[in-house]
Subunit: 368 residues, 2 copies
């Protein structure tokens, strides 16, 4: 699959992004508002948007200049947050999510963006786009605010699969390095393996095995392996990419979100405490907003599914227009850098290093 | 073991706390300063302090009125943060940590407080104090700032053991409930089981099994089981006690600490940005300090080892005098409430419910 550009329908050469308009908490109006924002900022993007045709056409028509950039694809059904992934893939052919992935599958679009049910999106992506040759478990890479120069670290797996063995973790390192290179422009990303202690004698057996596998691939795959890291290094500066299984990664992600929210709530309470503190908060407004912008999840809004034939960006379920627009921006950047093809080449070259085990890594549709 | 009080050596009836003065990052001076602070605040505590005799006697003599409250017990060796736990238990008989635990073992003191190497302290505690009958894996319960009325939630296991099966998790629920009752005065604590999603079909098999076991014990053990919770509920209000394995718990703990530190650092940067923001920070000083106090790890400074014949409070390795004093306060409160005996009674009554499996739960010294 290559970054498809379309010169006939949408005017100048454009990168086409497929957007699932449904399934987010804020409904299709917020998604179309995000599309309109991105369309204004970047003339090089064209859109295919999926959902109930009449409603979407009305929403698109309201935005000046959007109709010529945005094709509406009718899909009557919606995947809700409560739907079971296994049931969705059996009965979900009429959903906007299925339709949005279909545009990537048939080469009309380069990247798919959805705010919908993560489990359903992952399972459907695996079934429709299929895994890259050599990949057993695809992963969700999430962004984490940090003090590194790029302002975000990457963590994977954020929750695609609750299991991961040593070889999966090694592939997460390869995929995470490739993402950091193409998404953040880091030439030689630093990779850390999440554990409970930095001493080598600590931790689970599969982590010690993964340690050796990742170390063995560092030179060929052009990343630096910093060894074991701890939870405190997720927002830290010792590495750019943190590798872990999807259970631990998901707990860490939600814990980080919860902690940031608690600190924000306490800060608000502290500033509401007295007339003097309310005055202080007025003066501190700009400073507080500057800080908030750095940790605003809407601005780092996009879990990226790695290990598939095609790129899928999962936006936060509660994303508003700003959040959707951030996810589209990320999708565009990944499309421009030919990320899918580069990642596939990396995985293939690592598989060559490791031919003895390749039989056990044939694509498998039972990942969920 | 009962809360021992000593009426001869230290004057009026006192609860004796055994303190390991060594192994913390800030050295014995910070520990003695913390002891002095607690001694001043609370006349009912007496101390046995363990470490190099001459140095400790000098430090104690400097503090007015402390000599009569504080017995120094000479121990020449120190467990460092880099020592391997298995090596410490073989060769550590002359260490202050060993000596501090010995005072609880022989009934001189009710609770032991140490800032030292967590892994070594846990393994030594298991070997010297031994596990409660019926407990297979002891756990470290840590406090987590939250918006609940008690201002903190309890999470266990914070890292005593990287494994936990369904039955261990059920015992963590029992022990956590008992701790919440005696340490926080919550009559009927709400227990949550940490998972990646709140739907029952998600997560690992042992978690679904643990779910049923915990639910079955809720009525007898007098707690409310709220079911599965997510990482964001650690600082949240849906439950008071969060149960998880020590690997996940330790990652979550460090992630929370790292995130809180990042937000603090970004806040400092935001307020240092311009002359106006520096002025705002002066006015906001009291509000910011009020907020900081709520999330200050020194004020919730004490991981408590649960499941042993005796209570051990593990203070943060970098604890200063304030941190040590907080840990001593917690130790005192647990001693006053006869926590060890009550916890033992709870575990014993749960074991009665479940006699079929009791054979596999004999105490085992190989926990680490």
């Amino acid at each position: 699959m290559t970054a498809r550009t379309d010169q006939t329908r949408t005017g100048p050469a454009r990168t086409i992004i497929s957007v699932d308009a449904m399934g987010g908490d804020q409904g299709p109006a917020a998604v179309v508002a995000g599309i309109a924002h991105s369309a204004q900022k970047n003339r090089e993007i064209g859109f295919i948007v999926h959902g109930p045709g009449d409603e979407l056409k009305r929403l698109v028509a309201k935005r000046k200049g959007l109709e010529s950039r945005c094709e509406v694809r009718h899909a009557p059904d919606v995947v809700t947050m409560d739907d079971k992934p296994s049931s969705v893939v059996r009965h979900g052919r009429e959903t906007s999510m299925w339709s949005a992935l279909e545009s990537v599958r048939n080469g009309e679009a380069t990247v798919c963006v959805s705010c919908g049910n993560t489990g359903a999106l992952m399972l459907m992506s695996v079934l429709r786009l299929r895994k890259l040759p050599g990949i057993y478990r695809p992963a969700i890479a999430v962004m984490w605010p940090s003090q590194n120069p790029q302002e975000h670290n990457i963590m994977l797996d954020g929750g695609a699969d609750i299991r991961a063995d040593a070889k999966d973790l090694m592939q997460y390192a390869l995929m995470g390095a490739s993402y950091a290179r193409n998404g953040f422009g880091l030439e030689r990303p630093r990779i850390g393996l999440l554990n409970v202690g930095t001493e080598e004698h600590k931790g689970r057996a599969e982590l010690r095995e993964a340690y050796d596998l990742i170390a063995a691939n560092a030179r060929t795959a052009d990343f630096e392996f910093v060894g074991f890291v701890e939870g405190r290094d997720l927002p830290g500066t010792v590495c750019d990419v943190i590798v872990t299984d999807g259970f631990t990664g998901n707990v860490a992600l939600k814990t980080g979100e919860g902690t940031a929210k608690l600190v924000g709530d306490l800060l608000r309470e502290a500033f509401a405490y007295s007339p003097l503190s309310r005055l202080a908060s007025v003066l501190a407004y700009t400073s507080l907003r500057r800080m908030k912008k750095r940790v605003d999840p809407r601005r780092a809004n996009g879990g990226v599914f790695l290990g598939l034939n095609g790129t899928v960006v999962k936006s936060h379920g509660s994303a508003d227009a700003t959040g959707v627009s951030s996810a589209i921006k990320l999708a565009f950047e990944l499309a421009q850098s030919h990320f899918t093809e580069r990642l596939a080449a990396r995985v293939a070259s690592a598989a060559l290093l490791d031919q003895g085990d390749s039989a056990e890594n044939t694509p498998d549709e039972e990942a969920q």
